[in-house]
Amino acid sequence: MGIIGFYLRKFWMIVKNEVLVLPSRIIVFLFFLLLLLLPVFTQDPYLLRILILASIFAILAASWDLLSGFTGQMNFGHALFFGVGAYTAALLNLHAHLPPWVSIPLGALGAVLAGLIIGIPCLRLRGTYLALTTLAFPIILMGIIFAIPGVTGGELGITGLERLARSRVTNYYITVVLMLVLCTIMWKITDSNTGIIFHAIREDELAVRSSGINTTRYKLLAFCLSGFFAGIAGGLYAHFMRIAGPSTLEVSMSFQVVIWAVFGGIVTIYGPIGAVFILYPLLEFFRFWPEYRTLMFAIVILIILLYMPEGLLPWIRDKIETECPRCKIRNIATRKTCRICSAEIE
């Protein structure tokens, strides 16, 4: 009994001293709680469906941020990983009869392979050339898929996949928990030494190379990691929609990921996730006026980016938190002194 009390007290101390002191952490905490507890209050299948798709796309947008935001390898063809993941999972499920929990990781491995295949030639390119070359890969794959309709189903895609789970609530929990876990892993990666090297490669690749770090290896690692997470998103999408079609490889899919990430603020893993959870339901909400849906969507994005060029979430974070000038620890904006070193904050 005593040991449980000890751990409970320890947990409460962590929550009180690490989470409740910063509004951004409180928001993240509430976001986790809300997502996990939502089916208790409502089981509206439409709402759950929107949130499931939003979590799948959140994984995708965060993985784009890992590659293009952190490592600076502008990838305009992120749909390639998504599509490879979806098609691999679908083919394995349909022909080898593997259950979703095997076919989705194998689909992600397929996407890692795709990341290696496009990563190796793209290492020589930079800037605009890299962006436009990566844009070409999903289009090439789409042409191949259209050309062999016997295997891939052509324009109709592969249908009749196994469900993730029987009920919608179980589906919801699988995708949401997987999203939270994967995004936490991504955020941890960007916070680790590897993440710092990714940062440095974006800022100044030559300097990183001259300090004895094999940038080639790290850039390939970024491609593979990003491909892995995007592949999982693709496999989840295929199994949730029960179809893997060419729409997963479209150019608009690649650009949508970029729009989400830029809207939420790149070089922050939480930015793209928050952006997807704002924009995806917003697009559904605008259905009350269907003819002007995409127009209103575009106007919202343009206005937000006009006034918050760094993205929505970093802007909000800067409003509610300030950085201590002495120890660089973040504080809530209402404090006059730093919570760690008690230096004055102006």
């Binding site: 030639p121 020589r124 390119l125 605009t128 050339y129 436009l132 070359t133 844009l135 070409a136 890969f137 289009i139 090439i140 794959l141 789409m142 042409g143 191949i144 259209f146 050309a147 062999i148 100044d204 030559l206 150019v251």
Partner: protein, 172 residues
């Protein structure tokens, strides 16, 4: 859309419409004029130096934001001219932007950024590649984009700056 000039003639049993010939000549004239503008005028020099290094161009007394605006205007104007010229040759649909967008990027990257000659050559290589694939390979019309883009990627593997591109100094 009615053609601007009607009628056609035949070379080697291939029908060539006068409209197509007109489009071809207009394209050549515009490319030539653009090259003249970029290489032989003060404005062209300003545009090229801004591309090379914005800050230094600014220090040399070039109003870089104005140059950027003029460049943007010229490029958008040329795109609009292309659109209006292509109207009599194709059907118009709301989704007709997709294929030209991709092919345009592929052409420019293949030829090398910052080179009119490169774009010209790249456009011909990719155009003929697409046409050949459509006629020679079964199911080729699906593969035409793939083959053209694969050519682009192969060229970039050998020459990362494109066929005629200028390798800019890496910015530090």
């Amino acid at each position: 859309m009615p053609a601007l000039v009607k009628g056609y003639f035949t070379i080697l049993e291939v029908k060539v419409f006068y409209q197509q010939l007109l489009t071809f000549v207009v394209a050549l004239i515009i490319l030539g004029a653009l090259r003249l503008l970029l290489m032989n005028t003060k404005l062209g020099l300003a545009i090229r130096s801004t591309a090379e290094d914005r800050e230094v161009a600014n220090l040399m007394g070039i109003n870089e934001s104005r140059v950027a605006m003029i460049t943007m205007g010229i490029s958008v104007g040329l795109a609009a001219v292309t659109g209006s010229v292509v109207v009599p040759l194709t059907t118009i649909s709301p989704f007709m932007w997709m294929h030209p967008l991709i092919m345009m990027m592929a052409v420019v990257v293949l030829g090398g950024l910052g080179s009119i000659k490169g774009s010209f050559t790249g456009a011909y290589i990719l155009g003929f590649a697409e046409a050949l694939v459509v006629f020679l390979i079964p199911m080729g019309s699906f593969l035409k984009g793939s083959v053209a883009l694969s050519i682009m990627i192969l060229v970039l593997l050998i020459r990362p700056e494109g066929l005629f591109g200028i390798a800019f100094e890496e910015e530090r």
